[in-house]
Structure formats: C-alpha cells, structure tokens
C-alpha cells in the first residue's frame, strides 16, 4: 500500500483528493488529507461581505462534505515535515508517513509582520478583508463610516488574489456613491507597485479606472510601520498617508511549518519547478496552489489549472514514466468594478492580460479587460461553480492552458 499525503484541504488540496481518488486504485493507494479545521472558506466571497452582498453562510462550508469516500481526513495541525524520512509530524504527537507529499497549505495574511498593524487601532480603524473575521468587522465599520479618509492598502507583493484590493476600492467607491456620501470621502489606493497593477496593459487600464473614480494612487509605497496615534501609514522612505479608515492587505506568507521544516524561501513558499510544481529538492514532494513559489498569481484559478496538470503528471510519475504536462501559469480572474459591472483578465507566465473576447474569439460572451455586466454575473455565478463543480473535481469547460484565441495583440502591449 502506498500513501499520498496532502497537507491542506483548501482549493488545491480538495481538488487533488477528489481527482486522484477516482484515478488511483484503492487497493494500492491510501490518500490522507490534513487540515487544522473543518471549515472550507470560499475566499473570493470575503470581498462582498463588507458591502452586504454575501452572508457568512454563503462562504463557509464543511471541508469533509467535499472530500470523497476513501480519503482519510485528519483534523490536526502540522508541526513539521521530515523530508529525508518522508514523514510529517503533527502537533498532537502523531506522525504520518508518505510516499508522496503534496503541500497545499496556501498563503495567509500576517498582520503581525508590520509594526503597528496589530496595535490599538486594529479592528477599530484598521481592517483587513482577507479573513472572515476581518471582513465581517469591516462590514460593521463601513456602515458607520460617513466621511473622512478611506485608504485601501497593499503591504507587499505577492498577495493572494492580487486584484482584490483594487476591486475593494472600486466597490467602496460605488457603495459610497449609492449612499450619497462619495463627496465626503477622500479615497486613496496605496501600493508597493509602481502602478495600479503588475502587468503593463492591465496596470494602465486599471490605473485609468482609478482616475475616473477620483481615487488617488500612492505608488512605490513600501510600508515600514503604522502610526496608531497619528493614524497614518509610514513608508521606509518616510512618506506618510493618514487615514480615518484603513483597509489593508497584510503581508502574505506561507505556513510556518514550511519554515520550521527548512523547506521554504524567505516568505515560507516552497521552491518548485514552475512547470511541474515538483519540489526543487525532493522528488516526492509537490507544492500546489498558493503554497509554492511559482511566478504566477496566487489565486484559485491558478490552483485549478495547476491541479489539472499535476494530476496527469502524478499518474505518469508513479507509473515510472516522465512527466509530460507543463503548467503555463494560466490565470483567469474576474475583477469587480462596481455598479454591477466587472472585467475579466486571462493571462499566463509569458502573456500579460490583453483585451479581447473569452472564451470564444469574437463571440465571447465575456469581454477581456473591459467592464461589462456579463463579467459581474460571471463572478457571482462562480461561487456555485466553485462549490458544485470545481471542488468536487468535476470537469470545468475552460482550457487548462491559456489560449491566444480571442485576444487582441498590438506591438505595444506584447510582453517583452
């Protein structure tokens, strides 16, 4: 009997358990999945909680209901991995041996890493929306907020769902307008990047959307600390951005047990081959989803496409054949822009987000890098697809590899 051990029953881990349980012989393969609790969060839903679009019940379900028969679900905390011995020690003293290990423990916001973030103003005037608790607390704070400086802030890249803070800014702007108090609020978007987003064409387009909405952009801002008395963000180059309400995305880091096991980089991400997700150091270890260090967006769509490649590769590997699948970094993200509209971006390691139609050339029905109602409807519909199609590992009718079909390229926005 061989053992596949999966750490993390989130998006990537759950999909892998479902897909591989169907394809691995039950007499030969045991599959065990470990997570520290039994609550699976639909994290994209956090964005909507502060505006009352979603309720908590719509974004949290039991992890075990998404796991198939024949997969052992262990609720425990991981102490450390011993990759030389191929075993994982849990904090309750148990130890799990594996033949193959998948690290799928994602990335976590760490407000403790920025001096002053967890100070007296935390959850009073400083909020995050990358946790359920933070998002719920922010919903209450927003209701009471009727004038002043609202600052949306990104601490450091990479963060999961890199478009989410922009979406939050767009939705907040629309929300304030609906409440008739937009003119009483000064909105600022603060980012460590040189512009609104990471890739040139998208950064320009999203930057002009900030302009249109009179949201000022404070770029190249590397936060050093938060001054709770002055209520201001302070950067390493000694700029200050004052706030009455701060919505921050804290530093994101991989799991601490990865660091304790000596398997992480400076942000606890596991160094892996960007095309196979196999550990650069241990041939029987993979990191799938946000837990690895691949230069792709940390996002559910990336985890989904990567899982498709991983599963086929894994079957080749255990069959003694070379792995032939190659992940291209494909990401596909809806971006809420307020007023019931949204954008869609589709990109990979080599091609930046471009305008055009998706998934079919000319027909769409979705527009790329352009606001439309269909994209907003798509984003909302995705929650159902996530729970009912994606997590159970059923086929999603989207190409795993990014396709250039439908994309409009010009010489100026070709990736260099």
């Amino acid at each position: 009997m061989r053992n596949l051990l999966i750490l993390g029953a989130g998006t990537a881990g759950t999909m892998i358990a479902n897909k591989l349980r169907r394809r691995l012989d039950r007499d030969d393969w045991q599959i065990t999945i470990v997570d520290q609790d039994d609550r699976h969060h639909y994290q994209p839903g956090y964005l909507f909680l502060p505006f009352g679009t979603y309720t908590e019940k719509q974004v949290v379900r039991s992890r075990h209901t998404f796991l198939p028969d024949g997969v052992d679900f262990v609720v425990a905390e991981v102490d450390r991995i011993d990759p030389e011995a191929s075993s994982v020690a849990l904090t309750d003293g148990r130890s799990l041996a594996y033949d193959y290990l998948v690290i799928a423990t994602g990335t976590t916001p760490r407000p403790d890493q920025t001096p002053g973030m967890l100070g007296p103003e935390w959850r009073k005037s400083i909020f995050d929306f990358y946790t359920l608790e933070g998002s719920k607390a922010l919903a209450e704070a927003l209701k009471d907020f009727d004038h002043g400086r609202l600052v949306v802030h990104v601490t450091e890249m990479p963060i999961k769902c890199p478009v989410a803070p922009l979406e939050f800014a767009f939705l907040a702007e629309s929300y304030l307008r609906e409440r008739g108090i937009r003119d009483r609020v000064e909105l600022t978007y603060v980012t460590p990047l040189p512009g609104a987003f990471t890739k040139p064409a998208a950064s320009e387009h999203l930057g002009s959307m900030l302009d249109e909405r009179k949201i000022s952009l404070e770029s190249d801002f590397m936060v050093e600390s938060i001054d709770n008395e002055k209520k201001a963000l302070v950067s390493y180059d000694e700029r200050e951005v004052p706030f009455d309400l701060l919505v921050t995305v804290p530093l994101n880091m991989g799991a601490d047990f990865v660091a304790r096991s000596g398997m992480g980089d400076e942000l606890n991400y596991v160094p892996v081959d960007k095309h196979t997700l196999q550990s650069k150091k241990y041939a029987n270890v993979f990191a799938v989803g946000d837990a690895g260090d691949i230069p792709a967006s940390k996002a559910g769509s990336v985890a989904h496409f990567a899982v498709e490649i991983f599963v086929d590769n894994f079957l080749e590997l255990i069959g003694g054949r070379p792995m032939t699948g190659s992940f291209d970094g494909h990401a596909n993200c809806f971006i809420e822009s307020g007023d019931g509209k949204g954008l869609l971006i589709d990109f990979n390691y080599d091609t930046e987000p471009l305008p055009g139609k998706f998934p079919l050339p000319k027909v769409g029905p979705l527009d790329l890098l352009k606001e439309s109602r269909a994209n907003h409807v798509g984003k909302l519909a995705f929650r159902h697809i996530y729970w009912n199609v994606l997590l159970p590992g059923r086929p999603v009718p989207l190409p795993t590899h990014m396709s250039m079909a439908g994309k409009v390229t010009t010489s100026t926005n070709q990736e260099k």
């Binding site: 990047l193 980089d265 400076e266 230069p295």
Partner: protein, 104 residues
C-alpha cells in the same frame, strides 16, 4: 536587445538600461552604473550588490527587497538609505542584473 557602450565596455541592455548578460558586468562597470544614477559606492553598497550577484547565480533571478533583507542580512530601512526611492530597481541596475520581476 540594444547594445550600448559605457566606459569603453560594450554591453547588452534592455529598453530601460538594465544589463541582460550576466558576464558582461564587472565591479568597475558597476561603479560607473552607480554614478549614472547618482550613487557613490561604499563598502555597504558593495555588500548589497555582491549579495545580489551571488544570489542571482544560485536562484536564477534577481532577488526581491525582502530577500536582500532576510537572506542578505541588510535591513530594508538601510537599503532605502543606500539606494534611495527605488532600492530594488536601483540595486539590480548597478549589479547588472535583469529588472526585478514585479510581482504577479
């Protein structure tokens, strides 16, 4: 890829002037590149640049600011003083390495 001549050295650079061929760099050239962006190299500057060069050889990519601070042992605050305003970009420029990958 454009080719340019700096201080008698012929080097390959990208559109923004970042060197693209690792072995075309030398410390002399680094000093000249630094002077072009108004930086007078001290031992502390060199400590950062040497870390960037050796880390690039090991990892195959230009280290992030966090990596220079955590792994290279130079506090971020100090990097902002040594290479004002845009330390990640300026260090890569002086070290003759590709522009740091913004993130994704």
């Amino acid at each position: 890829m454009p080719v340019t001549t700096i201080d008698g050295h012929e080097i390959h650079v990208d559109d923004e002037g970042f060197m693209t061929v690792y072995d075309e760099w030398s410390e002399d050239l680094g000093k000249t590149l630094a002077a072009q962006i108004g930086i007078d190299m001290t031992d502390e500057h060199w400590q950062a640049i040497r870390f960037l060069r050796s880390d690039f050889t090991a990892q195959g990519e230009t280290p992030t600011l966090r990596r220079v601070s955590v792994t290279g042992g130079i506090p971020t605050k100090r990097l902002f003083q040594l290479f004002p305003k845009k330390p990640a970009k300026k260090m890569a420029y002086v070290a003759g390495l590709p522009k740091p990958q913004g993130c994704v």
